[in-house]
Amino acid sequence: MASPQPRIGVVTYPGSQDDRDALWALAALDAEAIPVWHEETELPDLDAVVLPGGFSYGDYLRCGAIARFSPATAAVVEFADEGGLVLGICNGFQVLCEAGLLPGVLLRNESLRFVCRDVPLVVERDDLPFTSRCVQGQTLVIPVKHGDGRWFAPPELVGELEANRQVVLRYGEPCNGSVDDIAGICNEPGNVFGLMPHPEHAVDPLLGSADGALLLASLVDAARARALSVV
């Protein structure tokens, strides 16, 4: 008998900040949100995993570079390799890039300033487990808050990603100097997605926008479908 609620883990690294908001938002969207400590070498039984925002291990050396080697990240890589759903938000996106689950790297913002504001995001794909509740071409308003959010990859890699339709979200206005205004990308199979904006901070109109709930609820739907299919 499958659990009526999908089980979605949120990894807490030393220096993670948005893990609690992510847990709260997922629970509000009817998932069973499960904290996962960074020292855990095996994930509990999960239908999806979220790597949250923050400054894991102080973001020393490079953002996400040290978190990449934490035991929980190794377990997440294994989970992703088996087709598990993985969402990386902000610092979590940086960790996924450093871990090689997503292409490219996040560099210091072109302005050298920390950006903290709501930004418009254009949805490039609505056929992913993370965007099924969105419509292609739709504009979402979701906050960003980062100093190192300029996604970069060499031109040949960008061309490959565009051809594979791995760009999921683009900034609707200049934000941080990202190549092609890329705000979020997925891996080729589409089970791993990373974005700099924070959907977990935009799940209720009281917070200024509920557009982030479209992304997270898509993930909850997909995780639920997986939970039911494994019965």
Binding site: R62, R108, F152
Partner: protein, 75 residues
């Protein structure tokens, strides 16, 4: 070891440093900001030390997408 932003990658820190130097009256161009990591390693020969550090660079200390590195051995 020295880690540098790769050629062709926009380095806003380098650009900011260059502008500040120009404000001080220096005539400079091409400023790039990287980092230095000093390490002590147990190694029998300088070549062994270099091989160890290069492995560290590839795994952790530099990201080959955005950075190049150079290893210097002393002592």
């Amino acid at each position: 070891m020295l880690v540098r932003p790769k050629q062709g990658i926009l380095d806003p820190q380098g650009a900011a440093v260059e502008t500040a130097l120009e404000h001080l009256g220096f005539s400079v161009s091409g400023a790039r900001v990287g980092k230095v990591v000093d390490l002590e390693v147990d190694a029998s020969t300088p070549d062994d030390a270099r091989a160890q550090v290069e492995k560290m660079c590839e795994q952790l200390l530099a990201n080959p997408l955005m950075e190049s590195y150079e290893v210097e051995i002393h002592g």
